[in-house]
Amino acid sequence: MKGRQLAGPAESRPTRPTPFERLWSDQDDSRLTGDPSLVVDVAGFEGPLDLLLHLARGQKVDLSRISILALAEQYLAFVDKARALRLELAADYLVMAAWLAFLKSKLLIPKQPGDDGETGEELAAVLQFRLKRLEAMREAASRLVNRNRLGREVFSRGMPELVVVDRRNTYTASLYDLLHAYATQRQRQAASNVQIAQRSVWSLKEARDILTRMVGEMKDWTALDHFLLRYLVSPTERVSAIASAFAASLELVREGQIEIRQDKPFAPIYMRGGHRTDREEGSA
């Protein structure tokens, strides 16, 4: 595949220079220098997993033999540096940071008796699986586009003599045409009172998405908000974030997607994925 000309997380504005460029060594195309101080251009990445994959390749070993711990630390170091430079990182990157911090803690602390959750190694395997899967899809994409393609290497009849049509369909339109027509006109009519979305608070939906993405990964009790708050929220947004995250978690509980637990009032709230197997309540 050709170079990564597109901006990563905010690809809708590909040309606009992003502040991430300050993390970018102006050396040519290589986004990661040999310098361990980690110089990365986030703008060139398609999200945190892509960034991780790139860092993993830097370890120059097969993905199955990679040090996940080293990878997590590299990533966290990068996030810390970005924060030190007061750069705004997209929420996806911070969610990943929170998760990696959690993973790191699991990898470093020996498993406690009575902790029936996944081991750090199991969580690391999940991450490894996701990296491998993404890499596989990326390779698949490049194999796909490098095939002989119609209109580029292979051609159809240039001078068709007729269109063989279904007698039943004299008219053509695709579902895309239909939906496009609908969305466009409804939007046009609604245009008069479109509001600009404000991002200073976490919406319920945002919180929900983030929680789903994180909790989906872990099966044991975790005080997630602790990690989330550390990486995701500025002090001024804290209250709103806690409120939204809590409301969203209740909603997820109701749908059976997660379970939550609080040992006593004002104690940290623990959550875990709700697709329970035959596992008993954890006895922490």
């Binding site: 051609f155 159809s156 009849r157 240039g158 001078m159 003599e161 007729l162 269109v163 063989v164 049509v165 007698r167 039943r168 369909n169 004299t170 008219y171 053509t172 339109a173 695709s174 579902l175 045409d177 239909l178 939906l179 496009h180 027509a181 609908y182 969305a183 466009t184 006109q185 409804r186 939007q187 046009r188 009519q189 609604a190 009172n193 479109v194 509001q195 600009i196 979305a197």
Partner: protein
């Protein structure tokens, strides 16, 4: 050009045997040139002149022999290689035009207006013409609705139980069939349209789109079925076949 008599089958020629090329290397080169010429003429949007062909072939390729060979190969086929002035093109064999012309219907694209109205009918059914106009903010021409009825993707369902008893419109089985939907409810909702990038993520919070009925064939409470007189007036009954 020799089209041969109708429906008489003649075995295909054995592809240039005995063209006097005894050397197998020469023979292979000719056949490779034939393949190139075949592909170029096939893909071209208009007849290709010999000069154009020569330009695209490798130096030293024998264009004349290749064309003769190709013409011989296709002489008895369903498609023939024909010469038009100094240019070459493939054409359906003359005796097969009857296979082609049968119901070769002109396929038409729906106009933007028709698409818009169709989409509104799909999402908002049962819906009256006035309601469609209200949603679109423009008047809908009679022709647009007629076109949609002609596609057989849209049908008149009945009459709304309101003053004036306006006709309600809805989609048909053929609509689902054409657009690959199992049911009308499979049409994407607001969040999904946003997710697919079809709808702006910054729509006002009171923006909503209706959930189409689960069974579009059933009349809703505020709809009346058509009466016989309605059917006749709307031309939905073909010249009365006095029944009963």
């Amino acid at each position: 050009m020799n089209n041969g008599p109708k429906s008489v089958v003649v075995p295909f020629p054995k592809e240039g045997d005995g063209q006097g090329l005894s050397n197998p290397i020469d023979r292979m080169q000719v056949m490779e040139t034939v393949r190139m010429v075949e592909a170029i003429i096939f893909a071209s949007a208009e007849p290709v002149s010999e000069r154009q062909l020569a330009e695209r072939l490798p130096v030293g390729a024998d264009l004349r022999t290749a064309l003769e060979e190709l013409q011989a190969i296709y002489a008895r086929r369903g498609v023939n290689l024909v010469r038009i002035a100094d240019s070459w093109a493939f054409r359906t064999a003359g005796d097969l035009t009857y296979v082609m012309n049968r119901d070769a219907v002109q396929q038409k694209k729906l106009s933007r207006a028709a698409l818009e109205v169709l989409a509104i009918i799909a999402y908002h059914q049962p819906v009256t013409r006035a309601e469609i106009e209200d949603i679109r903010g423009v008047e809908t021409s009679k022709g647009t609705l007629d076109t949609l009825l002609e596609t057989e993707w849209v049908r008149m369902r009945g009459r709304r139980k309101t003053p004036g008893r306006p006709i309600t419109y809805g989609t048909t089985e053929k609509f689902l069939d054409h657009f690959g939907l199992e049911e009308v409810r499979d049409l994407p909702g607001v969040e999904e349209l946003k997710g697919a990038g079809l709808l702006s993520t910054r729509m006002p919070s009171n923006f909503s789109i209706p959930l189409p009925p689960s069974d579009p064939d059933e009349l809703t409470e505020d709809e009346d079925p058509f009466s016989d007189i309605d059917l006749e007036e709307l031309g939905l009954l073909t010249p009365r076949v006095t029944e009963d």
